[in-house]
């Protein structure tokens, strides 16, 4: 079944300026959920110039949609030939890479090995989480793009961000970048919450996605969180695995990250 709709971004009247949702999506999902025959999955195909944040936020902000559906994953198709120029010309392209759980790097038959590597590095610099799958004509097994459960906290534990070895790649100055922090010193929960809450309140518009596994002083459980802009899902997720070092890791994907004193803020959260 195919449904047509016009893209409509709604601002929510909840005092949060980055809290936008897609009205067309709410309307259509509400309708689909009333159907007698149950659907296996709903695939939302946006235009190439759509901002993915309101689409993702709809699944958390609208109570009816949140109660009856689950955002499975964001899959972005990137053109291996043209991605570099698209990233330069359209900020939407950067955002679509930044929000992706899976990037289908398509048309790889049309670039050489070196060109492919350059594009991959550029994607990884924007988004170290996304699983990059090389494709021609988007040929990919369905289980690589459906039923990924990418927004569950459990999945955050399983994903090892693919950090870049070289931190200072200034070949391209993309607006959207990622920064990651690791600490073997446990964090102070109160200090962290203070810092993080303020950070999201003031800079949430520029912080696109965050994920983290945190080791708090005096807590036996791992704390896991993941967020889209200011929306955050966080929970203790069981004991640390035996024989594995406890450590905190935190990743930000966003714009102007270098202006947020993230390193300093994170360092200040370490228990004295």
């Amino acid at each position: 079944m195919v449904v047509d709709a016009d893209e409509e971004v709604f601002e929510m009247n909840n005092g949060c300026i980055c809290c936008t949702v897609r009205g067309d999506l709410i309307r259509i999902l509400s309708g689909l959920m009333k159907r007698a025959d149950k659907l296996d999955a709903i695939i939302v195909e946006t235009t190439g110039l759509a901002d993915p944040a309101p689409v993702a936020q709809t699944f958390f902000v609208d109570q009816d949609v949140a109660d009856r559906t689950k955002l499975d994953a964001i899959v972005t198709v990137a053109d291996a030939v043209h991605l570099s120029s698209q990233l330069t010309d359209h900020h939407e392209a950067e955002e679509q890479i930044a929000f992706a759980d899976v990037v289908l790097l398509n048309k790889i038959d049309l670039v050489d090995e070196n060109g492919l590597e350059v594009v991959k590095q550029r994607i990884k610099k924007i988004n170290p989480f996304a699983k990059i799958i090389n494709t021609t004509k988007c040929g990919v097994p369905l289980n690589e793009v459906l039923n990924l459960d990418a927004f569950s906290l459990k999945r955050v534990l399983e994903v090892e961000p693919d950090f870049l070895k070289s931190d200072h790649d200034h070949e391209h100055d993309d607006d959207v970048t990622s920064l990651s922090f690791v600490s073997d010193t446990p964090l102070d929960m109160e200090k962290f919450q203070d810092w993080f809450t303020k950070l999201l309140q003031t800079k949430g518009q520029d912080i696109l996605r965050t994920k983290g596994i945190l080791d708090f002083t005096g807590e036996s459980d791992r704390y896991v969180f993941q967020g889209v802009h200011m929306l955050m899902d966080a929970s203790p997720m069981g004991k640390w695995p035996k024989g594995k070092e406890r450590s905190s890791r935190l990743v930000f994907i966003g714009r102007n990250l270098e202006t947020m004193n993230l390193k300093e803020g994170f360092e200040n959260c370490k228990s004295a």
Binding site: M1, D4, D6, N13, V21, I26, R27, R35
Partner: protein
């Protein structure tokens, strides 16, 4: 140990269930409208059924997907579906396709005095009486709801950012003015006395405008979206869903500004999902998220009787026949109760 039946959940069948007819159709009930002494029900498989006293109801295959919206049009009903069809259906099941929008949904329908309206996307399609071609009224965003006033001279169209109020002058020309309030507005209704316009919003609140002086205000404090609301009597109260209580705002005198609503509580802390006024009385029928339905007098605390016990599925439709002899209750699990209201009546 014995269950205390005075408390939730009500396990015993009510007298209305015992003497009425129950249908377990397993298809979500989307909407119901009264046409005389019959009640038309739209379902989540695209079918419509007509319930009336002494007649069995056969499914009418109206739409392919679901019956998104439904309204009374004289002695017919109008329906819109996610198959893009806008239909006029007679009570004996004759279907007339007024228009077809293909893969675009028909989101809202209404009619008044022979004028017929449907909306698809951001456009209102308005058929004036005896006109073959519709007049198109375009808006900046997708339409959340439409309503005529009691005379059919005003058409309120809710949307993102407020309501567009269309007025027909005596040369039958339509002109519009804007009622602005930030946010996305969904269902819209006029008060029966045409003095007020009320919308429900994407946020958990309602908004109203007093039309004579354009004074407007929010009605907030709800725990959930307010999907169902109805004026009681001649606009004395606005009964609303979206909370554990049925919240009834006073709209007599100068309206609800600065006044407290009357909150009718129900046992079990369920969410009120549907409200309908009870004709000719200062009373409402309240449907809850567990399927139970109550009849409550607004100004008399404790004067509530149970009409239907719980079914586990949220109440999605309540309608009373014009002669006030029968009522119909439907829920999202596809359970329907059709029952006489007064003790001496037979089904």
């Amino acid at each position: 140990m014995k269950a205390d039946l005075n408390n939730f959940p009500q396990l015993n069948k009510t007298k209305f269930e015992n003497r009425g007819k129950e249908f377990r159709l397993g298809i979500p009930v989307i909407n119901a409208v009264t046409v005389g002494n019959s009640i038309a029900v739209g379902f989540g498989d695209g079918t419509v059924r007509i319930f009336s006293s002494g007649k069995s109801s056969e499914p009418i295959k109206a739409h392919k997907g679901i019956v998104l919206c439904m309204a009374k049009d004289g002695d017919h009903i109008l329906t819109g579906g996610d198959d893009g069809r806008f239909l006029r259906i007679s009570l004996d099941g004759n279907i007339n396709e007024i228009s077809n929008f293909g893969t675009r949904w028909v989101d809202h329908v209404t009619s008044k005095n022979g004028s017929v309206v449907c909306t698809s996307g951001n456009i209102v399609y308005l058929w004036m009486p005896n006109k073959k071609e519709p007049k198109l009224l375009e808006h900046d965003s997708t339409i959340g709801g439409v309503a005529f006033d009691s005379k059919g001279r005003k058409l309120a169209v809710s949307r993102y950012g407020g309501v567009t109020l269309w007025k027909k002058d005596y040369s039958n020309k339509w002109t519009s003015s804007d009622l602005i309030w930030k946010g996305s507005h969904n269902k819209v209704i006029f008060s029966p006395d045409d003095r007020y316009l009320v919308t429900s919003m994407q946020e958990n609140q309602l908004h109203f405008w007093r039309l004579k002086d354009k004074i407007d205000s929010a009605m907030s404090g709800y725990g959930a979206k307010v999907k169902s609301f109805a004026f009681v009597g001649d606009s004395k109260y606005l009964a609303t869903s979206g909370a554990n209580d049925a919240v009834c705002w006073p709209f007599d005198g100068d309206g609800p500004v600065g006044r407290e609503p009357i909150c009718l509580p129900y046992v079990g802390k369920q969410l009120v999902t549907f409200v309908e006024s009870f004709p000719n009385e200062n009373a409402i029928l309240t449907g809850l998220s567990d399927g139970s339905v109550y009849l409550s007098e607004i100004e008399k605390a404790n004067n509530t009787i149970i009409i239907r016990s719980f079914t586990e599925f949220e109440v999605s439709a309540i309608a009373v026949t014009d002669d006030c002899s029968h009522l119909l209750i439907g829920d999202m699990g596809g359970n329907i109760l059709w029952t006489s209201i007064w003790d001496e009546e037979k089904n």
